[in-house]
Amino acid sequence: MLLTKAKEMNRVLYIDLTKKDNKIEDREDLFDEYLGGSGVAIKLLEEECPKGVDPLSAGNPIIFAVGPLTALYPSASKTVAMFKSPLTGNLGESHTGGRSAMAIKLAGYGAIVIKGSSDIPLYLAIHGDEVKFKDASSIWGIEAVAVGRILREVEPGAGVRTIIRIGRAGEKMVRYACAVCETYRHFGRLGLGAVMGSKKLKAVVISADKSIEIPKEKRKEYKKVYDEIQDVVVETDAMEKYHDLGTAGKIYEMNKLGGMAYKNLESASAPEEIAREFSGENIAEKYLSRRVSCAHCPVGCIHLASLRELYEPGYYFKTSTIPYDNETIYALGFMLGMKSAEDYLRLIDMVDRIGMDAISTGVTLAWVTEAYERGIITKEHTDGLEFHWGDVQVYSEAIEKIVGMPNEFYQNLAKGVEHASSVYGGQDYALAFGGNEMPEYHTGIACYLNNLTGARHSHLDSAGYDLDQKLIGKEFTLEEVVKGLLKEEEWRQILSSLVVCFFARKVYSAERIIKALDAIGIENWTEEKLEDLGSVIHRAKMDFKFREGFDLAKLRIPKRIFEVPTPHGILKEGDIRKAIEIYGEMIFYSHSSSKL
């Protein structure tokens, strides 16, 4: 089947899990104005998410959105998920690749909205225009990896489909449960898995059955622009940076720089031998077994390790394939004081199977370990577990207990470190910002401003860690830093509306985006218009956050980050508070509908 007119690609599939019903609407209005991805998703969230709704209730919608470049240009390979986060109680936005974006677009949708809540476990089978609600009772309680294996055989569309599913953590509504996509990709952050679990939605299978027709008069140009973009993707440093060693390639340098949180940020760099053990080079040499990519991206940044281990005497070996990257090495390696890459791989395997966000899990367990050492948390709380840095066995059992929730302590841990520390104390070293557990960087003021002010409290919001590194050895004012971050975050709204992978951000300059859009018949975009839209989308997200009670003045900043020197020296709380104020003024004055 062929999609010819723009409006056919701008269809939104609305699914109601309560009524087991669905409808398709043309939403050209949204896609014309907001492109797709984040831009369209935030508008749909405004429409569908009632103010103050409980994130784990039927009223919280899940929105998946792709963009105009999806399936048409290289590295336009991501899907945006939007929902109200059960972890932060505010805006939830998470991105994934795999085959999700291609499958949604070529099934004929620009976005999918999932509302309501089912009475029995369900999975959705969306094959083009056909939407089926299928009983998932028999796969409820099964780990995420195995669910993929089962559905792969039951459902059609091999090779041209996506299987988004949750593990036990999602079913039990661990607030930072992830949704696993194609086994090794995740909607990792902010708890999409828990929202799916609350709806009794075990999985969503989407398969492609359409293609998009390029207008006849544009075909030559399309091929030319395509080839130009392809060449740049292949020739920029993206290939080297992300394909060779992957994001893990920068671990060693980051540690050497002193910007890597180690043992719950006891220090900002691990001892040399630990850094060597966890370096991208070492893991690649010992464990790398395969590199794979998302659909329609030639880079292949996904690194899979192969771990062979004896698990029972009598020569019972198993070989597991485990994805690894920079952030998970930080969270489950450095933060937990792991000593060997093998132990780290075991943990990531476990987190993957159970379906939890690796960063939130690592940071939460790091807080538990420190609190245990300080005596705030005792064996009474932990159901007998003794937490020590680097003890992989205890951490594995703890992860199992977070999902099993045998007592109140683990129930609290399942709500994230912000919540747990508010119950037991130790907030000074509970490393969450805006309710979201922190990413690896301790590089300077910009990375923390990013964590605090970024709409998702994710390091990818405004790349503060990058700005910090660029500013080393330079004089700068707070205004400059805030302005730089805001500009970056606004521009990234365009990238995530198109939707292109942030790893290809250098490829998709404004000029190329305009050419790329024009060549597929989406005309009249200018650099100015794109920049304006970036700021409009960003403010729309912030408006949603303010509506749901976000308050810049009330942001909690853990004391720990002011105790450990960054590459820029010791940070001062006063500076960060001042910078947040400047940020507030900037977004307030440039957009009058923002409320502070």
Partner: protein, 179 residues
């Protein structure tokens, strides 16, 4: 005198009104392309372990006809039962004595010298026997037109395989190498 002329070359479908000289030139070009004995090429999976599953080849094949997607693609990449096992690349391997041509009731599929087949769409009635006969699963189906999609060995897909998992190889060179 004007001829209405429709043909495939290098994977592109073209249709134009041409004069007699132009037509002859085209025919010669097409003859050389398909009948060149020493230069006969085919598409091959050079090293499936290098495949990262990006599907760029599939997209490239359908892009030839001005579409984004893979409903006109003569190549498929899928996981070998889960990504941990790697990928399978399904594409016509240009068999000598091809089974698909043997079962074609209307002679729409003709053997190409050096291996593989050439499809004459005008003769094809869309019975689907060819697709059934190919145990590699390398004949895909165009549901829109009810015709098989057969690799034309043009190499467009290989142009986009950054990791050199697939490539266009000369049939003769390969045969010699095998000996």
């Amino acid at each position: 005198m004007q001829y209405r002329f429709s043909y495939h070359i290098h994977g592109y479908r073209r249709e134009e009104e041409v004069g007699v000289i132009q037509k002859s030139l085209y025919l010669i070009r097409i003859y050389i392309y398909y009948r060149g004995t020493d230069m006969t090429k085919k598409l091959a999976a050079l090293d499936v372990n290098k495949c990262i599953g990006c599907m760029e080849c599939m997209f490239a094949c359908t892009r030839r006809v001005g579409r984004g997607g893979f409903d006109k693609s003569a190549i498929r990449v899928r996981s070998a039962g889960g990504i941990e096992r790697g990928f399978v690349i399904v594409v016509c391997r240009a068999c000598e004595n091809p089974p698909c041509a043997k079962v074609c009731p209307t002679d729409a599929l003709r053997e190409r010298k050096g291996g593989g087949v050439i499809l004459n769409e005008d003769k094809c009635i869309g019975c689907g026997f060819c697709a059934q006969a190919c145990i590699m699963g390398a004949i895909f189906w165009d549901g829109e037109r009810n015709k098989p999609i057969v690799c034309k060995y043009c190499g467009e897909c290989a142009n986009y395989c950054v990791h050199n998992a697939i490539g266009l190889v000369e049939v003769k060179a390969e045969a010699e190498a095998e000996e």
